[in-house]
Symmetry: C2
Subunit: 204 residues, 2 copies
């Protein structure tokens, strides 16, 4: 396929594919067809083929996709082949839960720093990670941490985001229900759990 801009939706699905391939490897399956994969993931098989083809040929015709090397290639595409460290800002209930969340490790993601501006929390440990004062966010640049999870109260979101951007953070997973203004250099992904739940009654 000649070069085309990669659709954002395709990128959003890549972690799904990576997880599936990783899981298949633990099941000792060497090869899988787009049809079988589609069934597992609840997608259409042409979509999977098209998504993967944006990054060049993954599979072999007549056979399917090689599980191990496909996983490796997606990891490279997503820059997850080397472990990525992330900072958590906001050591509330949700944030605390995320530090212990086991799902990140599959992607080589690790929460390596936690910040909060409550002096009572600073110094405590969540699992192996010590809570630091929020003023120390600026040290992220030196520590080569370029990702952050924002889990602070709504009224602190905008200023925390600005601080993160100033500290060289390149990507923020925003769990607050606020639109973070500014920072064109920072990729923000918004996840608003309350809104998501709020959509459901519409479909009843």
């Amino acid at each position: 396929m000649k070069y085309r801009k990669i659709p954002e939706e395709t990128v959003r699905r890549l972690p799904m594919y990576l997880r599936a391939f990783s899981l298949l490897r633990t099941e000792d399956i060497q090869t899988i067809s787009s049809r079988q994969l589609a069934e597992r993931l609840g997608l259409n098989s042409p979509q999977i083929r098209k998504d993967l083809s944006y990054f060049g040929a993954f599979g072999t015709r007549g056979v399917g996709y090689p599980v191990e090397s496909s996983a490796r290639r997606i990891r490279e595409i997503l820059k997850l082949n080397t472990p990525q460290k992330a900072a958590l800002v906001g050591a509330g209930r949700l944030g605390t839960a995320l530090v212990a969340y086991p799902g990140f490790s599959l992607f080589g993601l690790e929460i390596a720093a936690v910040f909060d501006n409550n002096p009572k929390k600073v110094g405590r440990k969540i699992g192996p990670v010590k809570i630091e004062d929020a003023r120390r966010i600026s040290t992220l640049r030196k520590r080569t941490i370029r990702l952050a999870i924002l889990a602070v109260p709504a009224d602190a979101a905008q200023s925390a985001a600005k601080t993160l951007a100033g500290a060289g953070v390149k990507g923020i997973l925003n769990l607050t229900p606020c639109h973070l203004q500014g920072n064109r250099r920072v990729k923000v992904i918004d996840v608003d759990l309350a809104s998501q739940l709020g959509i459901l009654p519409y479909y009843m």
Copy 2:
């Protein structure tokens, strides 16, 4: 506007609009233009106008959208005008955090039941809610609880989803990284936090 099917993306944005209008009311602002609203939310103003127009005329030309009545109408559209009860399945760290999450109340959403299959957890309380045995999920029908948040380990997700569907649940917020098969009558919204974080390095 003559009748057209309402885009799914529009429905997904409605909770955002509802939150914005609710917030504006606390700021004693009676009226807001699509342009101002767009700026707050980080959207384009025609998009807001089009979204709202799918449900009939909301605003007045030359003036803008009336904050209070718009909030009320969106609440009706989303069926959030009467309080909605939701069940949480899985009283792990993430689930526990959600019970106390203050963001739901703005939408009239309340976690009114918590289930877990760990006998050590059953009977304990999370805030005001007592953890029940997962076998009691079937009582949800009688209790008129039609929404659920699924926050169980991946290997328990599929069977829990089936149980929920059997208990008359109509909507599931799926926090597990699994595709839930079957149940065409149940609307499922998937939120995979690890995947979302995993996308970010791609954009660095």
